[in-house]
Each structure stands twice: as C-alpha cells, then as structure tokens.
C-alpha cells in the first residue's frame, strides 16, 4: 500500500472517530453557540443601531419629501418609514396618539413635543431636495440633469489615524486571536493525546506492523487538522452571521478577508504546533507523563496569545511587527493585525513565507523524532535522547 493511501486511511479514522465522540460534538456545539451569542450581544449592546422613525405624510409634496428623507436618513444614522394620510386631521391625530413620530402636513412638520435632531436633518434634507427639484423643473431643467445637480457625489473620508469603525475592528481582532489560540492549543493537545493514546494502549505496534510511522503521523495530523479547520470555519461563519444580523458588523471585504486569513494562518500554525505536540506525545508512554512533556509548548502558546493584547491595543509598536513575523506567534498575531487593517501586503507575505518555511523544517524534524521514539516504551525520553535516536 502506498504511503498516501495509508495516510488517507489514518486521516479518515481520526476525523470520523473523533466526530463520533459525544464529548467532542458537545464541545463544538457549545463553541458555536457561544460565538453566536457573542456576535448577537455585540450588536445589541453596541447600541449603534440606527434609530427608526415612522413619519406621516399628507399630500403629494409631503409624500415626496418624506420619501426623499427616507433615502438620505442612513447618513444621519436614522431609518425613516412613510405612512400616508388622506386628511391633515388624520395626520395630526396620528401624531397625538403617537402612532407616528411626526407628520409632514403642507409645509409643516407636526410633532408631539420636540423633533429628534437626526430626524429633523433627514426631513430638511428631503425637503431641500424635493423643492429644489421642483424649482429646477420650473426653470426647464430636465429630470435627469436635475437629479445629477441635486445629488453630487459625497466627499470621501480618509482618516489619518485609523478608521471610524475602530472599535468594531479591534473587537474582531480580539475574537480572531482568541479563537486561533483556542484552536491551536485544543487541536495541538488533541494530537499529543492521540499519539500517547496509541502508545499507552500499545495499539501502535499493531499499526506499525501494517503501515510506516510517517503515514501514521501524517494521517493523524491531517485528520485532526481538518477537524480543526472545519470547526474554525463553522465558528467563523456562524459568528460573522450573528454579528452581521445583529448589526454589530458590516459584511464587507475586510471582514471576509480577516476570516480567510484566520483560516490560512490556522492551517500553517496548526501544522507547526501540532508537529511539536506530536513529539511531546511520542516521547512519553502514559497520559500522566504528557502534561510535563507538553508544558513548554502550552506555555509558549499562552505567551503568543498574551502578546496579541498589546499588539491589538497599539499595532504600530516594534512588538507588533516582530510578533507578526515570528512563526511561533504569527498564527495568532497576524490574523488580528489583518482584522485591524494594520498589516501591509509585504508584511503579510513575509509572515506567511517565514511560517511556511518553519513548517517545512519542523514537520520533517518532528516526524524523524516521532519515528525514533514511537516504539520506545517505559520512562519518558528526554528530547535530546529522542533526537540522538532520530539521528542514529
């Protein structure tokens, strides 16, 4: 049997057997639900939902004015709905019993008490537009020319220090780094415990009589990695959908780009960390010993995660530049920087190249140590011993 076929068989087993485990399915559901809740809460508590107004209109001109106001309302962070009334009296009584927030009757805006600022701005803008158009028509300017004259392209905003939606972006960055950290540590440890499970149960000897150690390791990394990627994709899509639905986020290129970057950096970051976790598993024979052999790795991952906080707070520091390049921290830091919109194309490319390079080296190194250590039973091996055995 070819190496590739053996790897595929192992990967399929890892994927399907893990998916069958109740604890795993529950953990996925819990994560997805939590992320959905966070997304919705961000919208509800964020409070930057546009205020919604219902405005009555009596007469053709009033209807045109409220209609125009409705079109421009988002500029003033408001939403306007129109309700037609046949008589001024009907419009006034609707205002009085508060079934509408205001009504345009003839040239007047009728309100119960004072008119909210954003609504007044929207209605005034609507009125200006409708009346100017009427005046232009009276002067003989055609409809299309009139519209062009009345609706010049608005000025664009270029902020020298961050965009206006900075809070939103750093929220996405924080969530992205947290998710990546959780994914890397969760699936890295899954690889380590999976390796130890095979050693501790001694099934590894039966397996290695049938397939090469490399196929066993590669299949395990791929199967568990695909599961991790699936979970991240699921969590990312559900989280984004919830945040967009609740109005906390806008679904634009930047948001989708951040999700894409998170997936790519997860793949490489997982390959890097998981091959180190596989070594941590291969040098011990019992689950009890795994904790001590994997402590260094989990500590390093925690440090990489902690670095993300100051970086998100101020992405212009040297710490940000360096940690986004160093392969141990870049899988967590770089997606956060991209979400912030603070990474240049060159930085992104350099970070990915360094990461890919170290993946190529570490996966190979990890595989040799794994091969040398996987059949050594008994007391935990020191890394140096395993290394010597791998060189032998």
């Amino acid at each position: 049997m070819s190496l590739r076929k053996a790897t595929g068989l192992v990967a399929r087993r890892e994927f399907s057997e893990r998916l069958r485990q109740r604890a795993f399915r529950i953990s996925i559901v819990v994560t997805v639900v939590l992320v959905a809740i966070v997304g919705v809460l961000a919208g509800v508590l964020g409070g930057d939902q546009p205020e919604r107004y219902e405005v009555g209109a009596q007469g053709a001109e009033a209807a045109a004015i409220v209609g125009a106001a409705r079109a421009v309302a988002p500029r003033f962070d408001a939403r306007v709905e129109v309700r037609r009334f046949d008589t001024p009296a009907a419009a006034r009584s609707a205002v009085r019993d508060e079934s509408v927030d205001a009504a345009v009757v003839g040239g007047t805006v009728v309100t119960l008490d004072n008119l909210p600022d954003e609504l007044e701005q929207a209605l005034q803008a609507g009125a200006r537009e409708v009346r100017a158009a009427a005046a232009l028509r009276a002067e003989g300017v055609s409809g299309a020319n009139a519209r062009r004259a009345l609706d010049p392209p608005p000025l664009r905003v270029s902020a020298l220090e961050g965009g206006g939606d900075e809070d939103e972006r750093s929220g996405v960055a924080l969530v992205a780094s947290l998710l990546l950290y959780l994914q890397l540590i969760g699936y890295g440890l899954a690889v380590a415990t999976g390796v130890v499970e095979e050693k501790a149960s001694r099934v590894v000897e039966v397996l290695l009589a049938a397939i090469p150690a490399r196929a066993l390791l590669a299949g395990k990394l791929i199967g568990i990695g695909l599961l991790g990627l699936t979970q991240l994709l699921l969590v990312g899509v559900v989280g984004l959908a919830a945040a967009v639905a609740s109005g906390a986020l806008e679904l634009d290129g930047a948001t989708l780009g951040a999700l894409g970057v998170a997936l790519v950096w997860f793949l490489f970051g997982y390959a890097l960390w998981a091959s180190m976790f596989a070594v941590a598993g291969a040098i011990v024979s019992r689950q009890e010993d795994l904790q001590s052999s994997s402590t260094v790795l989990t500590m390093l991952l925690v440090v990489a995660y902690l670095v993300a906080f100051p970086v998100i707070d101020d992405p212009s520091t040297p710490l940000a530049t360096i940690s986004a390049l160093v392969p141990l921290s870049s899988p967590i830091v770089m997606p956060a920087l991209v979400a912030l919109g603070e990474a240049s194309a060159v930085e992104i490319a350099a970070s990915l190249a360094l990461l890919a390079l170290s993946v190529a080296v570490l996966v190979r190194l990890g595989a040799s140590i794994y091969e040398a250590a996987i059949l050594r039973m008994g007391r935990p091996l020191k890394l140096a011993e395993a290394w010597r055995a791998a060189r032998a």
Binding site: E17, V206, A210
Partner: protein, 296 residues
C-alpha cells in the same frame, strides 16, 4: 517460507540477537521458546520489519523480504493493543484496510472473524467495555482479519482461559493447515509440544536447538530409562557399568545410560535384585529438553 538468517541486533551495549537463524515453513506451526530476555520478541519484531536488524537477513519464499511483504504478515504483539474507545467491528475493518484490503472486503472479513470467534454480540461495543478474554479474541481477529500468509504471534496464549486457549489453538492449526507460515512464542511448553510441528529454542540471542520434537529427543546423546525394582536402594546398580542416576521418581529411579551401555544388562541386574515393576525408556518432555539446552 519465512526465514531469519544470521540476524544480529544490539540495544546499546546489550546484545539481543547474536546470529539467530530461524525457519518457519508454510503450512507448519512453529513454536518459539526460550527464557525471558532470550531475544524472542526482538526476533519477531525484526521478522515483521517493525524493528531493523543490525546484520543478517529476513527472507520470504527465498528472497529478501520487502517491507510491503512484511506489512501483509499478521502480528499479535506481546503487549496487547487496540484502540480502547473504538468499536470492535470498525476497529477490525480499519486494521484490515491498513493491511491492504479494500473497503467492502475489509468489512466482510471483520464480520467473518467476529462470527468465527463468537464476538457477534460485542461487535458494536467499544473494546474497553469487553471482558479481558473477549479483548484477547479481538486481538487475535486483528492479527488474522486480512488473511495473512504468515502469522507471527508473541505469547498468544498468555492470559487466555482454557476455552480461549482451545479456540486459539484450533485457529492456529487451521491457518497452518491452510498454508500459512505460523510461528508463536510461548512459555507453555506442554502446549507447544502438543500443537507444533517443530520448535526452535532460543537462548542468549541464538537458536540452541531446532526441529521436530521427536528429532530433538533422538539427537540427545544419552538415552534414559525409568526403572522400578522391589529392592533395597540403588545398590544393585553398582554391578552395571556406565549407568548414572539422574533422579529418584517415587519408587522408581531415572537412569542415564552411558554410550554403548546395553539396556538389557540393566534389566538383568534389576531382575537379580528383585521384582521389576517398571522398565521403560524415558521420553523426555519438551520442558526437559528445554532445561537441558538452556542450562548447558
């Protein structure tokens, strides 16, 4: 035929195999015996290709065994091992696939062995929920599920109850008669003697005796006699030259006859001393042969 030829292997300063040679013909059941630490497990792992030898060769049907060929061998390691949380049927199907069987073939084979070893009711349960005896049966099925041409089993009988041992013996015998080369190690020498076509005794990393048990007996230089005489002590033996007392066995005495000593002279001497109740050649058991060659 599976053959190990002059295989050497060291672990650091420890010599595990020191020129071991072993032949397992197809269609035969070979017992592999030796004291603990003699090198049995190392030899079996090398035969399977799980472990590399430092020198020497592993041959299959006369040619150097390729790794792909070795991967088709069936193996039961001394330390039993299965995925504890994986269902019996899925586990066996998976192992059959790893040994190169296609998907549907693998499932059929798993089902067949589950039926054959009486595991039908446990087929859909995770291995860890099974009794130890049933886990052993699954382990056996794991070695056999891909219908291997060679079977290498490290202490397959240890930990089995008598019924499990009977099932195992029957299956091994059947595989050998079906044309497979079967070798297993065991400390239960009576069982090896009863079951195997031939034995190989290993000590300090080399084979010290090998062949059919009858041939091994014949090879032993000094014949033995078990004699029971109604006489006072062993004094009657003083008349017969070339005879040595090996041990007393109840009322009888086990004698070793020197080269060229006529057993009829011993009988005459015994009759002169008293009534002869028993006079028979002593057929050494495998256990006795084992002790002799290992102590030597």
């Amino acid at each position: 035929m599976l053959e190990l030829r002059d295989v050497h292997r060291r672990y650091g300063d420890t010599v595990a195999l020191d020129g071991l040679s072993l032949v397992v013909p197809e269609g035969e059941l070979v017992g592999f015996v030796g004291p603990n630490g003699a090198g049995k497990t190392t030899a079996m792992r090398i035969a399977l290709g799980v472990l590399e030898q430092d020198a020497g060769e592993v041959l299959w049907r006369g040619a150097r065994a390729k790794r792909e060929v070795q991967r088709r061998f069936g193996y039961m390691p001394e330390e039993r091992g299965l995925y504890p949380k994986m269902r019996v049927d899925r586990q066996l199907g998976y192992l059959a696939k790893l040994h190169g069987r296609s998907g549907s073939e693998a499932e059929r084979a798993a089902g067949r062995w589950i039926e054959r070893l009486g595991l039908a009711r446990q087929a859909q349960r995770p291995v860890e929920e099974l009794s130890l005896g049933n886990q052993q049966r699954v382990q056996l099925a794991a070695a056999l599920v891909h219908d291997p041409e060679a079977l290498i089993l490290d202490e397959p009988f240890s930990g089995l109850d008598p019924i499990g041992a009977d099932v195992l013996a029957e299956v091994l015998f059947e595989r050998a008669r079906g044309g497979a080369a079967v070798v297993f190690s065991s400390h239960q020498l009576e069982l090896v003697e009863r079951l195997c076509d031939s034995v190989a005794i290993v000590n300090h990393g080399r084979i010290v005796a090998a062949g059919r048990v009858d041939d091994l007996r014949a090879e032993r230089s000094e014949p033995r006699l078990l004699v029971e005489v109604e006489a006072n002590g062993d004094r009657w033996l003083e008349d017969v030259p070339g005879v040595e007392v090996v041990e007393h066995d109840g009322d009888g005495v086990l004698l070793e006859l020197g080269h060229g000593t006529d057993d009829q002279l011993v009988l005459d001497a015994a009759r002169r001393a008293g009534r002869v109740r028993r006079f028979a050649p002593a057929r050494p058991t495998l256990a006795e042969l084992f002790r002799e060659v290992v102590d030597r």
